[in-house]
């Protein structure tokens, strides 16, 4: 494990803890820009640190821990897209991003089509799109990767009432945005490769959010069990509850191990990187959701009141399950990979 990785973790934890839970976008984003977190996975040739996702996921774990609202995953994906663009098409936008102007990337699979002269479609689960300077998205089938400036014509941004309020969720509706107003970052084979890279990394980012959030929620729950008393003794003395938190810790530990294994596979460009990323996302978000479901039960009534942060983790956990690839489709893709191995 690189030393940088541990430093990054410590630094991120401090920033996020100082920002409170949930760590607001306003408190985290400027510090993240200042500390150069956006440079983590950016190639050195682009002025970045050229580190891998093995390091980047540590950052996203810490953001998950603090329920951070800053769109750093989206920014990291945008940077990846801009750095990989053909013809330096994205260079000036990369500069704006690194200077602290968010560029939004959808965290769910949307439906974007290039029809006639314009780009049309609806993109869901786009974090912080309202405050972004641009949007990076791809047409269906990964035919082309586009950057659409926020102020391009026919771009409408909505803020649907997501139950998870820790992140600034937007939907972007493109109603025939003129091609001339958008930037083509890549087409054809290059677009396909870039989109693959983005979806795999998006899965790692959400898995990391889940691993971090789950770990923090487990800690809150352990603390509750240690302090809350019932029938004259702390809840932590009830063996049935001890066994349940032991199971949660086990699931989270396995999810964390798989996340790092998947990130290493992605960094090494291994042939099984895809499958590992889908598996990591499935396992991590399932573990987070289970942890959140159990945590609410173990907290009893107190967790049902908005004052307690339990529900913020729950809503984020349940949403994470649906992000970065529909879980049913990912499970099917993994199952089919096994079937292919079965010959």
């Amino acid at each position: 494990m690189s030393e940088y990785r541990e430093e990054l973790r410590a630094s991120a934890r401090k920033v996020v803890e100082d920002a409170g839970t949930p760590a607001s976008e306003g408190a985290v984003w400027p510090v993240a820009v200042e500390l150069g977190w956006l440079l983590t996975t950016l190639p050195e040739a682009r002025g970045g640190l050229g580190l891998g996702w093995g390091d980047a996921v540590v950052l996203h774990e810490e953001l998950g821990r603090g329920l951070a609202g800053a769109p750093l995953l989206s920014a990291a994906l945008a940077a990846e897209a801009l750095a990989g663009a053909e013809n330096e098409a994205g260079a000036s936008w990369l500069e704006r991003l690194l200077a602290g102007e968010p560029i939004a990337v959808p965290l769910a699979d949307g439906a974007l089509a290039a029809e006639g002269d314009g780009l049309s479609g609806r993109l869901e689960a786009v974090p912080s799109a309202a405050g972004a300077c641009a949007l990076v998205a791809w047409t269906e089938g990964a035919e082309a990767l586009w950057l659409i400036p926020r102020d391009a014509p026919a771009v409408a941004i909505e803020t649907p009432p997501y139950w998870d309020e820790t992140r600034a969720w937007c939907a972007v509706e493109l109603r025939g945005v003129p091609r001339s107003a958008a930037v083509v970052l890549a087409r054809g084979e290059r677009a396909a490769r870039l989109v693959e890279a983005l979806t795999v990394r998006r899965a790692l980012g959400i898995a990391a959010d889940a691993v971090g959030g789950g770990a923090q929620l487990l800690e809150l729950t352990l603390e509750h069990l240690r302090t809350r008393r019932q029938f004259g003794r702390p809840l932590a003395l009830f063996q049935a509850l001890k066994h349940r938190v032991a199971d949660l810790a086990t699931e989270l530990a396995a999810a964390e191990a798989l996340l790092h294994e998947a990130a290493a596979a992605v960094d090494a460009g291994r042939a099984d990187a895809f499958r590992r990323a889908w598996e990591a996302k499935l396992v991590a978000t399932a573990a987070y959701a289970r942890c959140a479901e159990e945590a609410l039960q173990l907290h009893g009534g107190i967790g049902m009141a908005v004052e307690h942060p339990c529900h913020l983790f729950l809503k984020r956990a349940l949403l994470d399950v649906e992000l970065a690839g529909d879980p049913e489709s990912l499970a099917l893709a993994v199952g089919d990979a096994v079937l292919r191995e079965a010959g």
């Binding site: 009432p161 008393r229 019932q230 049935a240 399950v321 649906e322």
Partner: protein, 399 residues
Amino acid sequence: MTAEELASFRAEVRAWLEANVPRGWRSAMTNAPQEAFVALQRDWFHKLVGAGLATPHWPAGWPGGGRSLAEQKVIFEEIARADAPRLILYFVSLYHAACTLFECGTEEQRDRYLPGILEGAVWCQGFSEPNAGSDLASLRTRAERRGDRYLVSGQKIWSTMAQYADHCLLLARTSSEGPPQAGLTYLLVDMKSPGISVRPIHQITGDDEFAEIFFDEVEVPVENRVGEEGGGWAVAQATLASERGLTLVELSARLAHALPRLGRALRERGLAEDPGMRRDLGRLAARVAAARALADQYLERRIAGRERVGDASLVKLHYAVVLREFARLGLRFGGLPAHRDRGFVRGATQETGHWVLDFMNSYNWSIAGGSNEIQRNIIAERLLGMPREPRTWRLEEEA
């Protein structure tokens, strides 16, 4: 009542409900303000009372009263089948308060309070306390005797719709001597008494159907005590047993009637052709059928006088577990769109088809009214004969 008479009673109830359930109440109550909901509850309450369907469990002689448990079961089943609004605002009045008065109240108390209930007086329950959870014996709200009054101070929590209540069924501590249950006393408290303040709890669902009640030296006349001083525990048991399993008959029937909502969710997401999804729906439907059969069987046992200690826990635990499974499948079928659906149906149950909301509301059954964990203890110890944990069991450093 013979099977034929029961069937004809069912037909009668069904016909009345078909004619009287407020049309379109679900859409009217979706994202409605609390006040609109209270108005709907009032109207529906008066209609039901008028039809004699709100008080079948009251003794004969009272309007609508004197119905057998079997008839009561029919009413609850038909209410579920007709998808009528749940009578949330009046449940404590009609069941908890009335049954406590019938079973443990004095004649004066009955005369004073029961007619008011029929006229729409709202009661709330003041049992739970912060930090007491399922351990009612550890309650700390104090009632000190001062001549012909008690002075009550303390805090109650998770009281359903207390902000609308006229009266409160209060369990308070009059002594800290002896075993913890022994010092509890049961009082009827006028919610307009000076020193009472009510604060709605902002729930994680966005709802505020529960409230906290704060008592600051509230005066309660001694004649408002139910049972003896120190005898509140037994009275509270009567209160809690008052619905006799009918609620879970109704709720599990509602769950069964709500299964098609899951089917529609599959259709909406274009997954209705997927055999895996359809099988998972089938497996859940089988679980729901079991929950319903268990609730029905429990009531039949009560009717036949064959209830065993712990049977009620089986029903409640199983319902809570299956309800959670229902909610989980809803989340799965609902997918991402469910997360931006903040639709909110007041007076409905935990299977409104607004899946994130339903998931959260399912905890009302796994935590409240004796958590799943408490039910498991009861089942293991009372029904299966496993030994109880020693009362002296403490942390080593405390021992």
